[in-house]
């Protein structure tokens, strides 16, 4: 029984730990991506200089936007030539490209909304952004998070239940002792504390293995992956302080499970 409850804490915290590592890193990737999402506002060909100027003012005064940058059709062509080759230099004769404003949403999650807003402005031809991509990512993240949370809560309860059962067995085994303690006037805390300590111990013992495993795994994984992602947009979370915070959290959760588990059976079976 003791083994079962420690294992339950171990399994729970292992999953909690892996889940948190994944969520935190995905979150980081998502944030990295978000930060990079630019809105590209294509200006209507019919718009004259004044209209362009007006549009720029409008964009700049919109509090939901930051980083408003203008790029004329000539500059756009330069970018194209650089990107796709000298053949495009032909277009210098009659530039078919539009003027462009590059902007960013002040809060990345609002990108789609803000893009809609801009579409309604005069002199815009089209508003483009990494549409769909980030939304999908957010959806995946949210679904993953919700499933994970439900799973973890179920596991937490299982672990608490097993701990409370273990403690109940100890209480039953020490029934006579407890009865006498109460009879001669031991305080409720005096009676209760050993069982709470037992619960805390079970929680700490259960937390040890996940802490060690996750630390080792993350250090190795990080050292393996990080060099490969050198210079990339996605970077794994730094080992420290993340892994220490995670270990602290796992330990605290283990203790919490232990305290709650024992608290439940102490309350039920000691009536103190």
């Amino acid at each position: 029984m003791t083994f079962a409850s420690i294992s339950a804490v171990t399994v729970t915290l292992l999953l909690v730990g892996v889940f948190i590592v994944m969520m935190m890193n995905l979150n980081k990737i998502a944030t990295n991506l978000e930060e990079d999402v630019e809105i590209k506002v294509l200006v209507d060909l019919a718009a004259n200089d004044a209209a362009v100027k007006e549009l720029e003012e409008k964009l700049k005064s919109n509090p939901n936007l930051t980083d408003v940058q203008f790029s004329s059709n000539e500059e756009e062509l330069e970018i194209m030539i650089k990107g796709y080759g000298e053949e495009f230099a032909l277009y210098k004769q009659g530039n078919p490209l539009r003027h462009v404003f590059y902007v960013k949403a002040a809060t990345p999650q609002d990108t789609a909304k803000v893009a809609k807003e801009i579409e309604a402005y005069d002199s815009t031809y089209e508003v483009k952004f990494g549409e769909g991509k980030i939304e999908k990512l957010f959806n995946v993240l949210n679904t993953g998070r919700n499933i994970g949370i439900v799973l973890i809560i179920a596991l937490l309860f299982t672990a608490m239940f097993l701990i409370s059962n273990t403690i109940r067995l100890t209480i039953v085994a020490r029934r006579q002792e407890i009865e006498i303690m109460k009879l001669v006037g031991a305080t409720n805390n005096f009676v209760r504390i050993p069982f709470l300590l037992e619960g805390i111990w079970l929680g700490i013992l259960g937390a040890l293995l996940p802490m060690i495993l996750i630390t080792i795994a993350y250090f190795n994984l990080y050292d393996y992956i990080q060099p490969k992602l050198e210079g990339e947009l996605f970077q794994p979370l730094d080992k420290t302080p993340f892994i220490f915070q995670l270990n602290g959290l796992l330990l605290a959760t283990g203790i919490f499970i232990g305290v709650w588990g024992s608290f439940m059976s102490v309350r039920k079976f000691l009536k103190v």
Binding site: I180, M181, G185, A186, N188
Partner: protein, 228 residues
């Protein structure tokens, strides 16, 4: 010191164990509680050390109404009351000495005081030589002495005993009664539920008879009054 007013106790299963008990017990008294089986004697006794709480009525112990006592305050009450049972309730894995010391350890007495008090009380019940023995190495009478020693080691004002001689042969019962007499002589109040006619009729004290949950007789120096 102990005063009950209209104490009524109905158990969860609907049994009415005491049906309006009124009594006053003074400091230093020795009271036998007698009556047929199921009369409510144990219930009466349990309400004094708050093992049971009356459904209605008042139980005043030295100005405190035990019936209304908060759960948190029960330990303090229990430290002023020693309890002895028919089945001794000793811990089999502890020696005689440890069983008695246990009562002080769990109320966090200092080791020094524990040593002093336990030694003293073991001498009082005549078990100094058997201090290192375990309960299963003792006779019933000796086990009951250990349990009495444990009940008085914290110098309670009252000792409550529920049929303390119920499991003992007549000879041994007299020895145990002698111990209670000694304790009473030191000024400790004693309340004892018993079926032991011989004892009640020989060592005369106040006799309170309970029948059907009410007190039917309360007589100082009275006799047992029932056929056995």
């Amino acid at each position: 010191m102990i005063k009950m007013k209209n104490v009524y106790k109905k158990y969860a299963n609907g049994v009415v164990a005491t049906n309006g008990i009124n009594i006053e017990i003074d400091r230093g008294e020795f009271v036998y509680v007698v009556g047929p089986s199921g009369a409510g004697k144990s219930t009466f006794i349990k309400m004094i050390y708050r093992e049971e709480v009356p459904t209605s009525g008042e139980i005043i112990f030295d100005k405190i109404n035990i019936a209304q006592l908060k759960q948190k305050e029960v330990p303090q009450l229990r430290r002023r009351i020693g309890v002895v049972f028919q089945d001794f309730k000793l811990l089999p894995k502890l020696t005689v000495y440890e069983n008695v010391a246990f009562a002080l350890e769990v109320i966090e007495e200092t080791p020094e005081n524990i040593r002093k008090k336990v030694t003293e009380v073991l001498a009082l019940v005549g078990l100094t030589k058997k201090a290192r023995m375990f309960p299963n190495e003792l006779s019933g009478g000796e086990q009951q002495r250990v349990s009495i020693a444990r009940s008085i080691v914290n110098q309670p004002e009252v000792v409550i005993a529920d049929e303390p001689t119920g499991n003992l042969d007549p000879e041994t019962s007299w020895d145990i009664m002698e111990v209670f007499e000694k304790i009473n002589a030191r000024g400790t109040t004693i309340i004892m539920a018993t079926h032991n006619k011989e004892v009640v009729n020989t060592i005369r004290h106040r006799v309170v008879a309970i029948e059907g949950g009410i007190i039917t007789r309360d007589e100082i120096g009275g006799d047992y009054g029932y056929e056995q």
